[in-house]
C-alpha cells in the first residue's frame, strides 16, 4: 500500500460530548507541560535578543517548538501549530539567526503565550 499523507485539522474540535469533555480534561492535564514548552521558547527568544543563545538552548527550543507544533492543533489550536512550526523551522536553520528572525521568534513566543492564557 502506498503511503497516504493526510491533512491536519483546520478547525477546533467539536465532537460528541464525551469526547469533547475528555479532550478538555486532557488539555487541563497536559497544560503545565505545554506551558513549560512555551517557556522554553520564551527563554530562547530572550537569550537570542541578548545575543546569548547557546547551541543547547537553540536545540531545546527547536525540540519544544516541534512538540508544540504536533500538540496544539490536536487540541484545536491550529494557529498555535502554525506559530510553533514557524519557530521550529527558524531554529532548525543551519545558519546563524538574524535580527529579523530573532524579532519574529520573540513575537511567536509571545503570541503562543497569549494563546495559552486565553485557553485556561
Amino acid at each position: 500500500m502506498d503511503p497516504a499523507p493526510q491533512s491536519a485539522p483546520k478547525q477546533p474540535n467539536s465532537g460528541p460530548p464525551d469526547l469533547t469533555a475528555a479532550l478538555h480534561r486532557l488539555w487541563l492535564q497536559f497544560l503545565p507541560q505545554i506551558e513549560d514548552r512555551a517557556a522554553v521558547l520564551e527563554s530562547a527568544a530572550a537569550a537570542l535578543a541578548h545575543n546569548k543563545l547557546s547551541a543547547e538552548q537553540r536545540q531545546a527550543a527547536h525540540a519544544a517548538a516541534h512538540k508544540l507544533a504536533g500538540t496544539l492543533g490536536t487540541f484545536g489550536l491550529a494557529e498555535g501549530t502554525s506559530l510553533a512550526r514557524e519557530a521550529e523551522l527558524l531554529y532548525a536553520a543551519e545558519s546563524e539567526l538574524t535580527q529579523t528572525a530573532a524579532t519574529r521568534l520573540a513575537e511567536v513566543a509571545h503570541q503562543l503565550r497569549i494563546m495559552l492564557e486565553s485557553r485556561k
Partner: protein, 123 residues
Amino acid sequence: MSHRILIIDDEDDIREVAALSLETVAGWEVAVASSGAQGLARAIEYQPDAILLDVMMPGMDGPTTFRELRKNPVTAHIPVLLLTAKVQSSDQRRFADLGVNAILFKPFDPLTLSTQMADVLGW
C-alpha cells in the same frame, strides 16, 4: 468492527489523545508504549491489527523501530502508520521510502483519526 491498535509515542499527551480518540470514536482496543523498545515488546505480545508509530523518539526512533518490526517474523505482517509532525517534503519522501503503510500528520483531528486510519488500511 473492532480493531486492536498499538500506539508507540514518547509524548504522553499525544499518546493519550490518540488513545482516547480511537477508543471513544471508533470503539477500538488500544495499547500504548512510550518508546521504540517498549513498542517492539508490546507488539509481539499484543499482536495488534495496526501500529501507530511516532517518528521522533529518543533512543530508538520511529524508522528504526519500524525496521525492527519488519525484521521479526512475529511482527513483520502488522501494518504500520507513521505519525509525524514533520511536514517538509524531503522528510515525507524519506519516510515513504521506508515502506510504511501510511504517513499521518500531527496535529491530527481526534474526531477523524480513526477514519483516516481505516481509510488507508482498507477497513
